[in-house]
């Protein structure tokens, strides 16, 4: 509350939030711009878009959701989530040998 956190202390946080907001807007513009670059393969476009999205997600989770300075308990919950999420995505990609005959990867 205000007794624990002075307004001056919080103004520092507010400035950081505004910087993150600007970074997210710039990230959105770059995402759209990068999607129009004719890379040699569509996979590169996908990789670039997901990389930018991951950076934006880090900014939202790290600063707006305060994950960069959270308690161990939250990190513990998120570590389990990350493990199962990576497993879910990893197994999906790993299982690509199961796709029907003549599947084209694009």
């Amino acid at each position: 509350m205000s007794d624990a956190h002075s307004t001056a202390d919080f103004m520092h946080h507010v400035r950081r939030y505004l910087l993150v907001f600007v970074a997210l807007l710039i990230g959105t513009i770059i995402t759209v711009w990068a999607s129009y670059i004719p890379f040699h393969h569509r996979a590169v476009n996908i990789g670039v878009a997901l990389l930018i999205a991951s950076c934006k997600a880090f900014l939202v989770a790290g600063f707006f959701m305060h994950l960069i300075s959270e308690r161990k308990m939250i990190y513990c919950i998120m570590a389990f989530t990350a493990f199962f999420f990576v497993g879910l995505m990893g197994l999906t990609l790993w299982a690509m040998g199961d796709f029907p005959f003549q599947t084209v990867f694009h």
Binding site: N45, A53, V60, F64, L88, T103
Partner: protein
């Protein structure tokens, strides 16, 4: 009975209970959307060559919605920071903005859905296909009785007796609107009046149309439900729920933090949905 640890942190977790609760909930949400994203990957890489759509969604509209949601994230965090700084008036202002932005997002999404529900794919009796947006249907239009006619603003595609590159180019007119053929087809759009007697079957670009629209509506529909749910909670805390500020401001501030965490998660999901569905 008083609910324990609504303000004071528990000794073992170092957090008030609601914060542990919301993070556990968000963990389950990550897995929910994760499962749908992995379904998207499977559907996309498993699609028949040339049949995965590109350019079906309006990029400027999607970009605008992204900006709306990012802006709502900053107003949410500013609402919480205002509570922390004991500035209730500013909290009211920022969260009013959040609610308006949430409604704007849902409004823009509804416009996009309407665009899909008025976009027709029509299989003609001669084997050709007509594709375009509904202009009008005659009052006596009936597919069963083969009466009346439908007018669409679009183009025809002829997939008959085509193979290889020729078939791909024809498919591009419908499925890849970023391709030269797709752009040319869009450029040549005109009003087509099609009598019901010439129609073998027709459907809109709803979730039933193909796997792309199915996963598009599932992902964005579930996300939109989260936006609506979050807006209702934030609306409650902005309106009747804000009475708690007078009696227990710290507990109220914690409620704003919890609802904010949910809102940022909704923003975070959209950050991935936007490039995946609109751009790639």
């Amino acid at each position: 009975m008083d609910i324990p640890y609504t303000v004071q942190p528990r000794q073992d977790t170092g957090l008030y209970n609601a914060k542990v609760g919301i993070w556990l909930f968000l963990a389950s949400e990550v897995m929910l959307f994760g499962a749908l994203f992995s379904s998207y990957i499977l559907l996309r890489v498993g699609a028949a060559p040339g049949y995965w759509p590109h350019g079906w969604l309006n990029i400027p509209v999607g970009t605008a919605n992204t900006v709306v949601l990012i802006t709502s994230s900053i107003t949410t965090v500013m609402a919480w920071a205002s509570c922390k700084m004991n500035q209730f008036g500013k909290f009211k202002f920022y969260h009013a903005c959040t609610i308006l932005l949430a409604l704007t997002f849902v409004g823009i999404k509804s416009y996009e859905y309407h665009d899909k529900f008025t976009h027709y794919s029509i299989k003609l009796a001669d084997g050709k296909m007509a594709d375009g947006h509904l202009v009008k249907k005659s009052s006596d239009f009936s597919l069963e009785q083969k009466t009346g006619a439908i007018v669409i603003h679009g183009h025809e595609v002829d997939l008959n007796n085509k193979q290889g590159e020729e078939l791909q180019k024809e498919l591009n007119k419908v499925y890849d609107l970023h391709s030269p053929e797709g752009k040319a087809a869009e450029h040549e759009h005109k009003e087509l009046e099609i009598p019901a007697a010439q129609i073998a079957s027709m459907e809109t670009y709803g979730p039933w149309h193909n796997t792309y629209t199915a996963i598009y509506f599932t992902l964005t529909g579930l996300h939109a439900l989260h936006v609506i749910g979050g807006a209702i909670v934030i609306g409650f805390l902005w309106g009747p729920g804000s009475k708690l500020w007078k009696t227990d401001p710290e507990r109220f501030t914690n409620r704003i933090e919890i609802s904010g965490l949910f809102w940022h998660f909704v923003d975070l999901v959209w950050i991935f949905l936007f490039p995946v569905l609109y751009l790639l």
